[in-house]
């Protein structure tokens, strides 16, 4: 596996400073496959472990903005708290325009027992108010299970959890200028929607079918199955940035092609849209533990 050797070399440098990160993740998969009987960790756990070993996030995920064309992303999970916000932050730190939503009926966070979740309304509750409420309720519990940490992160990203179904697609988002990743998102549309769970993907597609595609704008909807816990969300966030980089590379290439007629078939000048499945297939090989689904839908 030359990818492994390649990945090993890249791993010693950094993930995010290199423009192409394709080889990095394959390290983790190889490591997971060859982990052998000496470890009792699960395959996915070892992926996360080795992935985090091989790719230390330099500068906290920040990277220089190379400028140029950027795809606009939208991340979606159930409650717009953990997985979508983790990837929201990571994409924003990677300088992509990004917004995020939840598809659940309510924002649900774990409570003292599994039967007593903390439930909030979408669009009406801010991360800060949830933070303060939980901090007052039981600071020890909610610090120990990572909720306060998560909410503390989220309230620095945007005001509060938003519900996908209530999103008016195409409404200008000019008032959210302080949100992370808001730059470039002013028109309120995305090129790629990334959901973090099959249920959310289904909800997004069903909602888009229901809306009747009034905007006549194509959108790639990709699901990446990420388990809903902090560790997996972090791994998933890294995988999503990897995918975003790969996709954006395609889009930039498409933009750089000018002049020659694109109507010559087989000229290698394929557009962005048609190359998405290929790139996703390659990405899936790098991240075999995060099953992905894709479709082209309409806003």
């Amino acid at each position: 596996m030359d990818a492994a050797a390649d990945g090993g070399a890249t791993a010693s440098t950094t993930e995010v400073s290199s423009p192409s990160t394709t080889a990095v993740a394959s390290t983790s998969t190889t490591a997971a496959a060859s982990s052998g009987p000496s470890t009792s960790e699960s395959a996915s756990a070892s992926t996360s472990a080795s992935a985090s070993l091989s790719t230390p996030p330099p500068n906290n995920g920040h990277r220089e903005d190379p400028g140029g064309f950027k795809l606009k992303f939208c991340t979606v999970c159930a409650s717009n708290q953990n997985r979508s916000m983790e990837s929201h932050l990571r994409l924003a730190l990677a300088n992509y325009p990004v917004i995020s939503f939840g598809t659940g009926s309510l924002v649900r966070l774990p409570g003292p027992t599994i039967q007593q979740p903390n439930v909030y309304k979408f669009n009406e509750t801010s991360y800060d108010s949830i933070y303060r409420e939980l901090d007052a309720k039981d600071p020890r519990l909610y610090r120990a299970n990572g909720l306060l940490n998560m909410l503390g992160r989220n309230r620095n990203i945007k005001w509060g959890p938003e519900r996908w179904q209530d999103w008016q697609i195409g409404m200008p988002r000019t008032k959210q200028q302080n949100d992370k990743g808001s730059e470039g998102m002013e028109a309120g549309v995305a090129d790629v929607v990334i959901t973090c769970e099959e249920r959310c993907w289904d909800a997004v597609i069903d909602d888009l079918l229901n809306r009747g595609s009034p905007l006549n704008r194509a959108v790639h909807v990709i699901n990446i199955d990420i388990k809903d816990n902090h560790e997996e969300a972090s791994v998933g966030g890294r995988a999503i940035v990897d995918l975003a980089d790969s996709l954006n590379k395609l889009a930039v290439e498409e933009r750089e092609k000018t002049g020659a007629s694109v109507f010559d078939a087989g000229s290698g000048r394929e557009g962005f849209d048609e190359r998405v499945p290929e790139v996703l297939g390659e990405w899936q090989e790098r991240w075999p533990n995060l099953p992905a689904t894709w479709t082209l839908a309409w806003f």
Partner: protein
């Protein structure tokens, strides 16, 4: 102004355009002005970057939901010419084409509506027709992204040129232009020709499905824009559904599976399925009983078939969690491996290998993995006994002897060479006794993302797996089968005992808050009632009161001597009971009476035994009366009841009640309570009357009523008082 604009670089111009766009987005009022203002800059002769930007800006502006219908109309009419020019500008840049066709799709229904009402001004319609024919010309040869836009454009035409069932008008503002709006006498638009065009276009759109195309981009793009046609354009829905049902999204699966084909097959299958599920769920025409319901069965069958075939195709590769056995076989999944005991062989019973073993492993002589993991302790005792007896009676002596010898050999191998007791985690590869009893494989399916649990069961189990065993077993000793004695518990020092007693006492009160008060009074079972036979509040209180009064009966004398100044368990309970009653004394007066009865009974027992233990009845009766006396109101008949029901009354206790007469409002209550005692409790009649007499003497306000009772029950008393004032003091 013109000269400097010319010299501006493309990048600077883009920056300016971007700023103008932001202004439009922030203040929609400027939209029209800005769009019209940029038209000359983005024209067909402009540099490619500007044309791309312009086409995308036009698409965005014509689609934006912030503009009202009429604002959009004038905007649309104004930009048609530019869209047409962009589509026809020589170099066919796909990005420009894609965005321009998108803009045209948004413009189409608006132009149709405009021309319906403004037939005298046919220019926009002619421009739109030119755009239409240009789009249809490039549709077949264009690269896929542009083709995609063509499909969407066609979809908007079909939507505008077929008859609506009226459902979208209220649901989807902006999608409501339909053939029904065009009258047959329209000078420009001919409804019949338009409908024919729509039918033809629909066929062309569906062609990608009919050809069983493997181009997932076009298939998905087509499928994902059909929903609104099926739901709101009845003339199209049957045609579309039939077409989908004949489409096989899994055709590509027959070719070699590269990562890309996997994505494509999965995508087409899921998209097809989602659309059909969506239609069944949302379209009232496909509900049971509706006109489309005969299609319903077909659709459901198709969905099931699709799901089955998909499962078959992606069985090994795509399924998220394969069976534990498979995954361990294929991927060497160490975590999910079953911990097999190496010594288990059916006929021969080889000695167990080195390393720690469980007792169950020692006695396991089967090599069937399923049987090995069977937990015999789950079997009920009676059943186990019957099985053992049956088995022992039927098993041949030879086999039994063989098995016993085998086990004995295993034991022997351990005795001479005891393995050193292990501390901490077992060496890698060894069987970890902590893993065996945990149902790790089953835990996997319990993942329920609804709860957003920070850690799911599986992860907790994983952690437990990796944790060192809580009690490191010394296996050599364990296998010696030597005598075993439980270590004696650490000595309880009095402080700890008291602390534990208090904790235990407070736990006793825990259930009270959750136990419900019986709503309706149950008929009392009387003497036949067993205390605490039903788990309700009353029985629990009986338990608590008896524990408080009698838990240490007979032990007080020794205990108290040592523990003076400290609260023993039952005193703690008494205090808590006292607090509990006073928390809501009106309703809990019954509890107070029950408790005092128990105390009184206990006191009698103590007196009988002559142990000299302290008596509690009087003490707590006085404390209770003190506790609620201050809160008594004239309506509190509970006082009467309390005094009547507690087992013993003393002068001191009644003396406390006397103070109530200081408040004129409670005089009546106090004296009525006394009268009740006089009438109904002859043993205390004397002291009750004494109390009334004292009231008469001490409280002037209470005199009239007290006098009334005294004249009846102690005739001559008042007279003696009024006559001999001097002797009154002596009698008091």
């Amino acid at each position: 102004m013109a000269a400097p604009t010319k010299t501006l670089s493309v990048a600077d111009q883009l920056d300016q355009l971007q700023a103008a766009r932001k202004l439009a987005l922030t203040t929609p009022v400027y939209y029209e002005k800005i769009v019209k203002g940029v038209l000359p800059i983005i024209g067909p002769t402009a540099p490619i970057e500007l044309r791309r930007w312009g086409a995308e800006f036009l698409a965005e502006s014509l689609a934006t939901p912030v503009l009202a219908k009429n604002e959009k109309e004038s905007l649309t009419i104004a930009v048609l010419d530019t869209i047409k020019a962009l589509l026809e500008s020589g170099d066919d840049d796909p990005i420009v084409l894609k965005a321009s066709i998108g803009a045209a799709a948004s413009a189409y229904p608006i132009v149709v509506r405009w021309i319906i009402f403004n037939s005298y001004h046919p220019d926009p319609w002619e421009q739109m027709s030119a755009i239409k024919s240009r789009v249809f010309r490039i549709w077949d040869t264009a690269p896929p992204p542009v083709k995609l836009a063509c499909i969407k454009f066609a979809q908007r035409i079909v939507l505008a040129q077929t008859v609506s069932n009226g459902q979208e008008a209220r649901l989807y503002p902006g999608l409501d232009v339909s053939l029904g709006m065009i009258t047959g006498s329209h000078p420009i638009l001919d409804p019949r020709r338009m409908e024919a065009e729509a039918t033809g276009l629909l066929d062309r759109m569906l062609g990608v499905l009919q050809d069983n195309s493997s181009d997932a981009l076009l298939v998905d793009g087509t499928l994902n824009c059909l929903s609104i046609l099926i739901r709101t354009r009845p003339s199209t829905s049957n045609r579309i559904i039939n077409c989908i049902l004949n489409f096989n999204p899994l055709k590509l699966a027959n070719s070699p599976m590269t990562p890309k084909t996997k994505v494509l097959v999965k995508s087409m299958e899921k998209t097809t399925r989602m659309l059909l599920i969506h239609i069944i769920k949302r379209d009232p025409n496909f509900q049971p009983g509706a006109p489309g319901s005969q299609q319903l069965g077909r659709i459901q069958q198709y969905i099931q078939r699709l799901e089955r075939s998909k499962t078959e195709i992606f069985d090994e590769a795509g399924r998220k969690r394969a069976l534990a056995d498979q995954s361990s076989a294929q991927y060497g999944d160490t975590k999910r491996q079953r911990t097999e005991t190496p010594a288990a062989v059916a006929v021969t019973i080889p000695p167990l290998g080195p390393g720690p073993h469980r007792y169950s492993a020692l006695y396991t002589i089967t090599n069937n993995a399923g049987l090995q993991s069977f937990d015999a302790t789950q079997v009920p005792h009676q059943l186990a006994t019957r099985i053992v007896v049956k088995t022992l009676s039927s098993i041949s002596q030879g086999v039994l002897d063989f098995a016993i010898a085998g086990i004995r050999d295993r034991l022997k191998t351990f005795q001479p060479a005891p393995t050193p007791s292990f501390a901490g985690a077992p060496p890698p590869g060894a069987i970890n006794p902590a893993t065996a009893p945990l149902g790790v494989e089953e835990g996997d399916d319990d993942y329920e993302p609804n709860f957003n649990a920070a850690e799911d069961t599986e992860q907790i189990l994983n952690k437990l797996d990796n944790a060192p065993p809580e009690v490191p077993l010394d296996h050599t000793e364990a296998l010696d089968l030597g005598p075993f004695t439980l270590p004696s518990p650490p000595l309880l020092d009095p402080d700890t005992a008291i602390r534990l007693a208090q904790a235990a006492a407070s736990r006793l009160f825990g259930p009270l808050s959750s136990l419900k008060e019986e709503g309706s009074r149950k008929p009392r079972a009387g003497i036949n009632r067993l205390a605490a036979s039903s788990y309700d509040r009353e029985s629990w209180l009986t338990v608590v009161t008896r524990l408080a009064t009698r838990s240490t009966a007979g032990l007080e004398s020794n205990f108290k001597k040592e523990e003076t100044g400290r609260l023993a368990l039952n005193d703690t309970l008494r205090e808590m009971l006292f607090v509990y009653i006073l928390e809501d004394w009106r309703r809990r007066i019954e509890v107070a009476v029950a408790w005092l009865c128990e105390e009184w009974y206990n006191d009698q027992l103590i007196k009988l035994s002559g142990s000299g233990a302290p008596l509690n009845y009087e003490k707590y009766a006085l404390r209770l009366i003190d506790g609620f006396l201050n809160y008594i109101t004239p309506q509190d008949k509970v006082l009467t009841r309390f005094l009547a029901e507690i087992p013993e009354l003393s002068r001191e206790l009644l003396g406390k009640c006397k103070t109530l007469c200081g408040d004129p409002t409670t005089v009546n209550l106090t004296l009525t309570s006394m009268l009740y005692l006089v009438m109904m409790r002859p043993p205390v009649r004397a002291i009750a009357l004494d109390t009334v007499a004292e009231i008469w003497q001490e409280y002037v306000d209470a005199r009239p009523l007290a006098a009334k009772y005294l004249t009846k029950w102690r005739p001559g008393f008042i007279e003696s008082q009024t006559i001999g004032q001097s002797s009154a003091a002596a009698s008091a």
